[in-house]
């Protein structure tokens, strides 16, 4: 049996003597009588047995041969470099880099991460990471809040799970959320203009949105600007490499889910929330920020900076309580973006786009399968089918294919990335052809 503690019995004896107590139980003097209880937990096992147990559990999960499901979590190719670097224990087993002198590697990596996010989104500042794409959206909205205004207008095209997280975050603070309707899958400008009022402090949408549609983000940005309210975009990182940046669209804050940047699907986590903002909002940004400075000899040095905004100093007046973030995931994204680089990011984006369009074209060529929206899309799209979604799901599962997300009885949200080969797509199509309502 292993307990990961290195003490020998005689060492424990010696240490107890130095402390001046007779046994380990005496360390809880006066407490045992009150609280001690026998816990209902199994006995310990060897590492070998536990490894076998987890292998069995892992085998009880179905890892699909081909995946056409996105909806907030995406399968992309992860270069071996990422796994190799991320296995370095100096990174894995370190705490938050409080002691700058012995943490320059971690601090510099975060600085590089912030810089890459700024490049990708076009924004002027960024931070060390947030919990995930949904909490980042909630935080970003709170960054834009103003005294005397209590409403945020959010597009119905935002991932429903993100909307739910935003509702959770905003409810206790007395903020109200009003949804902007979609028109042919896109955030409706007319509905937005109708709903813009004096009590609105921000407008938000997702690019591309949950239904895969590419929004007229610049047009919505202009409307927000004309009304003098803040503008936040929740963006997909690969789409950022191709589409007009949030900055170009007039966003004040850009947030997103960084999972596609080198993190496996992992049943939903750990993932990565990222944020970029205009410079004037730097001090309202939540979480850790790394800054570049120098030491007494003029050498470049990186430190956690602007800490007086944070919970450990400002306590109840801090804008957020975030302490541990998703540092190792941010490092994953950094190594991924460094590997892919300028061209690789665009290539993955272009392939995802092309494959999704090929998949959509093939699918809608089948009788009884139609695109729900005619608006341009990125790598996801909604298809309405005469065959029930449940039936499609069962047929695909039988063939080791993970199909799109069921949105309603006859609607599914499909996704493709660079990972889906033409052969995989054609196989899916042949399965769908067999599905008869």
């Amino acid at each position: 049996m292993s307990t990961y503690t290195p003490h020998t019995a005689s060492e424990i004896r010696e240490m107890l003597d130095v402390v001046g107590v007779k046994n380990l139980e005496s360390l809880y003097q006066g407490l045992e009588g009150i609280f001690a209880r026998d816990m209902n937990l199994p006995a310990g096992k060897s590492q070998q047995e536990v490894a076998r147990y987890f292998e069995k559990l892992a085998a009880a999960n179905n890892v699909f041969g081909s995946i056409f499901l996105g909806a907030g979590a995406y399968q992309h190719y992860i270069p071996p470099v990422v796994k190799s670097i991320l296995s370095r224990s100096e990174f894995i087993t370190a705490y938050t880099p409080y002691q700058a002198e012995m943490s320059q590697g971690i601090l510099q990596a975060i600085f590089e991460f912030q810089s890459m996010i700024a490049e990708l989104t076009g924004m002027q500042v960024s931070n060390a990471s947030l919990y995930d794409g949904s909490t980042a959206l909630a935080d970003g909205i709170l960054m834009l809040s103003e005294k005397k205004k209590n409403k945020v207008l959010l597009s119905e095209g935002i991932n429903p799970r993100s909307l739910e997280v935003v509702r959770t975050y905003l409810a206790p603070l007395g903020f109200e959320i009003e949804l902007i309707a979609l028109e042919n899958g896109k955030t409706s400008l007319a509905d937005l203009e109708k709903k813009l009022s004096d009590d609105v402090f921000a407008v938000g949408l997702a690019q591309p949105n949950f239904y895969g549609v590419i929004e007229d983000a610049a047009t919505i940005g202009e409307a927000a600007k004309a009304a003098g309210v803040g503008y936040i975009m929740q963006v997909e990182p690969f789409a950022c490499a191709l589409l007009k940046t949030p900055f170009e669209c007039g966003a004040d804050v850009a947030v997103g889910e960084g999972q596609p940047l080198g993190m496996p699907l992992s049943f939903g986590g750990p993932y990565l929330g990222f944020i970029g903002a205009r410079e004037k909002l730097t001090r309202r940004m939540q979480g850790r920020i790394v800054g570049k400075t120098h030491d007494s000899e003029g050498r470049d040095a990186y430190v956690l900076t602007l800490q007086a905004r944070e919970q450990h100093i400002r306590r109840e007046k801090a804008g957020s309580s975030i302490c541990s973030n998703q540092a190792l995931c941010a490092l994953t994204a950094t190594v991924y973006m460094a590997s892919a680089g300028k061209e690789g990011m665009k290539e993955v984006a272009r392939q995802s786009l092309s494959k999704a369009h090929y998949l959509a074209a093939q699918m809608t060529a089948i009788d009884g399968f139609e695109l729900k929206y005619s608006s341009e899309f990125f790598n996801e799209f909604v298809v309405v089918s005469s065959a029930p979604a449940d039936l499609i799901r069962n047929k695909c599962t039988e063939k080791n294919i993970l199909p799109g997300l069921k949105l309603s009885d006859h609607e599914m949200l499909w996704c493709a990335t660079e990972v889906n080969s033409k052969e995989d797509i054609d196989q899916l199509i042949s399965v769908l052809k067999e599905v008869r309502p």
């Binding site: 001090r283 800490q307 007086a308 100093i313 400002r314 007046k317």
Partner: protein, 118 residues
Amino acid sequence: MSKLKFLKSHEWYSAENNTVGISDFAQHELGDIVFVELPEVGENVEAGVAFGNVESVKAVSEIYSPVSGVVTEVNEDLQSAPELINQDAYAAWMIKVKVSSVSEELISSADYDELTKR
């Protein structure tokens, strides 16, 4: 400096210029000041109520107003150079106020010196 009045919470008020700032003792206690958050022109301040804050690297302190009134001017230099407060706390005024009333808690320069004597 002897013309200035002080709050025990270390802010000064100059009746001559209608300006408000923090004392030399306060800047010294805070250490290197890295940021000052001040109200905007046109906002109201209230005697005894915080109107802004000063940050050092590892601390943040609220600044309480010695007077009530409307802010007529803000020292914009402090935004880009908060170190001016460390250099000369009495020259580095923070806000100018159209004063409607003055805090009753204000004490003289001599009394403030006495209070902060170590």
